[in-house]
């Protein structure tokens, strides 16, 4: 075991896979010599060679499209999109091509492609370095969508993504690259070394895609969340003193419906929390599922706490971000509604 932040854990996952499986390659803007703008691929080109870790021209459509071609020809590419906000030039290749390739060729062609991309706000990045676009990928049949909330999960899930024979969009909440963030920007930053999930095996291991994690057990209400918001939800539950069961879904698609449903049937209360805009957000999918599966166990309406339905603003970052206060207010409302 070693102490790792999320960047090191992701780096370790790719390092392990580059060493284990020679079909693994990495391609992306600034990922080679420089090691990535967030340093996730630091040292990998030096160690594994220039034909395994490729700097790319600035063209996300080209990165995704060529990575699909490599995948079809037997490689396991890991494409990095420098920020999720810049993934859209590659969206056509993702939605129209890689997501449906297996289906349209009756399984004759498929592309084991992983697309890694940092997402989310909280870093004063303004509207082009803060987006959380997971819902517009989870909406597309044929894509697996993952978002870890800690270094241990990040490494295990990324290895599974690389080994998966289907395309995986792997979102990395950049606000928690260096440490868990409870939603209070005025508190000093905490490193991952203080957190049990900062303990990461150096060798190979994997965590199954499609399995949620119960972050903490509780009887009064269920908070379903993922990414940075896992930590905010924990802090908010503590703040209100609620006996909340917090579920980190870890993957949006496929969704671990069983874990969520079991929990809500037990607690009778449910809040869904995500950083992305609420309207048509991924929370709507969770709410619909819970409503259908747990209707007779619910003691209060299901509530969502999400980013407002506006672009991500630069100056009003902490008004936009669904912080502890908003989550705490929702917890209280849901518990009092009974």
């Amino acid at each position: 075991m070693a102490r790792m932040n999320m960047i090191q854990a992701l780096n370790s996952a790719m390092d392990v896979m580059l060493a284990r499986d020679e079909s693994t390659v990495i391609i992306g803007e600034d990922v080679g010599y420089f090691g990535g703008v967030f340093r996730c691929t630091d040292g990998l080109q030096r160690k594994h060679g220039e034909h395994r870790v490729l700097d790319a021209p600035i063209a996300e459509g080209g990165i995704v499209g060529s990575a699909i071609g490599m995948a079809v020809n037997g490689l396991r590419p890991i494409a990095e999109i420098q920020f999720a906000d810049y993934i859209y030039p590659g969206y056509d290749q993702i939605v129209s091509e890689v997501a449906r390739l297996r289906y349209r060729t009756a399984g004759d062609f498929y592309a084991p492609l992983t697309i890694r991309t940092p997402c989310g706000g909280g870093i004063r990045g303004g509207q082009t370095h803060s987006q959380s676009p997971e819902a517009i990928f989870a909406h597309v049949s044929g894509l697996k969508v993952v978002m870890p909330s800690n270094p241990f999960d990040a490494k295990g899930l990324l290895i599974s993504a690389i080994e998966d024979d289907d395309p995986v969009i792997f979102f990395e909440p950049k606000r928690i690259y260096n440490g868990p963030f409870d939603g209070d920007p005025d508190k000093p930053a905490v490193p991952w070394t203080t957190h049990e999930k900062g303990e990461v095996p150096e060798d190979y291991y994997s965590l199954p895609i499609g399995r949620a994690n119960i972050v903490r057990g509780g009887d009064d209400l269920t908070i379903v969340t993922y990414g940075t918001m896992v930590h905010v939800a924990e802090a908010a539950a503590e703040r209100v003193g609620a006996d909340a069961e917090i579920i980190d879904i870890r993957t949006m698609a496929p969704l671990d419906v069983g874990t969520i449903v079991t929990s809500v049937r037990k607690t009778g209360h449910c809040i869904v929390v995500h950083e992305a805009t609420g309207f048509s957000g991924f929370g709507a999918e969770i709410v619909a599922t819970v409503q259908q599966e747990c209707f007779y166990h619910l003691e209060a309406p299901i509530t969502r706490v999400c980013g407002w339905d506006t672009p991500y603003p630069h100056a009003f970052e902490w008004e936009y971000f669904p912080g502890q206060k908003r989550v705490a207010a929702a917890i209280r409302d849901v518990l009092e509604a009974a």
Binding site: T128, H129, H314, F316, A329
Partner: protein, 414 residues
């Protein structure tokens, strides 16, 4: 040698610790490149995409057919704008280091590009800048206080706190909004120019992107549409040799100059010494006249060097030699114009120092004023409900409710 395919991995001439080497930059003699008529057929002037238009020689004398013959006072204005741009950058960099602003992008070493090209435009021409084209704002006379207020996201911020520093816009000055998404402005500039042609107006459009961004599909969309519709537009590629950590070879610059990209589309294409104010001005005027007279688009590659870091978020010492800038063969644009004016006998070191001191004072005063309108940490602040404005022309009900909810959450003690 076997005939097997082997993946080519572009290598910059030098990495940290190695000796800088710019021998790959092909440079023409000043004054040596012919200047065709503005109605020349693109295919008859293809040499312009491979040569390099230069006006200033090593002795700082202006010569050749591209010499724009500007008056001394016009050149001094240009020098002032370039110096103002540089001092503005210096101040904003310091502000970022002090934690007053969140982020900044300098254009050090590239000031001639935006300043000369903006001065060569007409006021009604629409400019589509990148985040490194701040010189266009300066050269169109924007107050530095306005620009500072944007960087501070304060109560007078033109973007109302919604954009990262440097993502300016200026409706009245005909400068479009800077996007964080690379190359998107390129086809937009073409469309703006198409609209001018549809409406029968004389205004043209001009856009800028970095050489790295030419890899984006939008670059190619722009050239296709510009060529198909003969749009009155000037498309500039600012080749400052680096795109964050990747050198220009990663956008295909190892094989052909970026200007040559235009040839395949049948678009007039020029390669110019981007640190030679007079040359940049002259080729832009040529392209503007060509567009305005109905002869269509021009692609211009400005050969220059990014003398500073990519932005405040990176450290170039990790990927290129520290002393590369000293070896850059095309020098510094401000120094070159200054030396030219001194050689011409219309400027002196003393006048230059006095101008610099005056500009620094102007910037300092501007900064004090800008800070009086607040920052992200000190009021006066923008009204927080601004967050919900301008998503649509009319605020829909769900946003009205969300605005109300935010107000309530802020007031409640939980």
């Amino acid at each position: 040698m076997s005939g097997k395919p082997r993946l080519h991995v572009p290598q910059p001439p030098a990495r940290p610790g190695e000796a800088p080497d710019f021998s790959y930059v092909e440079i023409s003699e000043a004054g040596s490149v012919d200047r065709p008529d503005v109605n020349a057929r693109a295919r008859d002037i293809e040499n312009l995409a491979y040569d390099m238009v230069r006006v200033l020689d090593e002795q700082h004398t202006a010569l050749g057919p591209w010499h724009p013959h500007l008056e001394a006072d016009e050149l001094i204005v240009a020098l002032r704008f370039m110096l103002l741009t540089r001092r503005f950058d210096d101040r904003m960099l310091r502000a970022q280091r002090q934690g007053k602003i969140s982020f900044y992008v300098q254009c050090r070493g590239e000031e001639a590009v935006a300043v000369a090209q903006t001065l060569a435009s007409d006021p009604g021409d629409m400019l589509f800048p990148s985040y490194r084209t701040q010189g266009a704002q300066i050269a169109r006379g924007r107050s530095v206080v306005d620009l500072m207020c944007q960087c501070l996201s304060n109560s007078k911020d033109m973007c109302k706190g919604r954009q990262l520093p440097t993502m300016y816009h200026w409706k009245r000055g005909n400068i479009f909004s800077v996007s964080g998404n690379l190359a998107t402005q390129y086809p937009q500039a073409v469309g703006w120019a198409m609209a001018a042609a549809i409406k029968g107006e004389d205004d043209i459009a001009q856009a800028w992107i970095g050489e790295g961004s030419t890899a984006e599909a939008d670059f190619h969309h722009a050239l296709t549409f510009a060529a198909v519709y003969n749009a009155p537009v000037i498309l500039n590629v600012v080749n400052n040799q680096w795109a964050i950590s990747t050198f220009q070879g990663y956008a295909g610059g190892e094989r052909r100059p970026f200007s040559a990209r235009g040839l395949g589309y049948g678009v007039a294409s020029i390669r110019v010494d981007g640190n030679d104010f007079l040359a940049v001005y002259a080729v832009t005027k040529w392209a503007a006249d060509r567009a305005r007279q109905g002869f269509g688009p021009t692609l211009i590659e400005q050969v220059t060097y990014r003398a500073a870091a990519h932005s405040t978020s990176d450290d170039p010492a990790r990927y290129r030699p520290k002393d590369e800038v000293q070896q850059w063969p095309l020098g510094d644009p401000i120094e070159r114009l200054k030396s030219h004016l001194i050689t011409e006998g219309v400027w002196s070191e003393e006048q230059h120092a006095a101008l610099d001191a005056e500009i620094i004072e102007q910037i300092d005063e501007g900064w004090t004023e800008a800070l009086s309108y607040g920052s992200m940490t000190h009021g006066p602040f923008l009204d927080k409900s601004e967050l919900f404005e301008d998503v649509f022309a009319d605020m829909p009900t769900h946003l009205i409710l969300q605005r109300e909810k935010l107000r309530r959450t802020r007031e409640e003690e939980i």
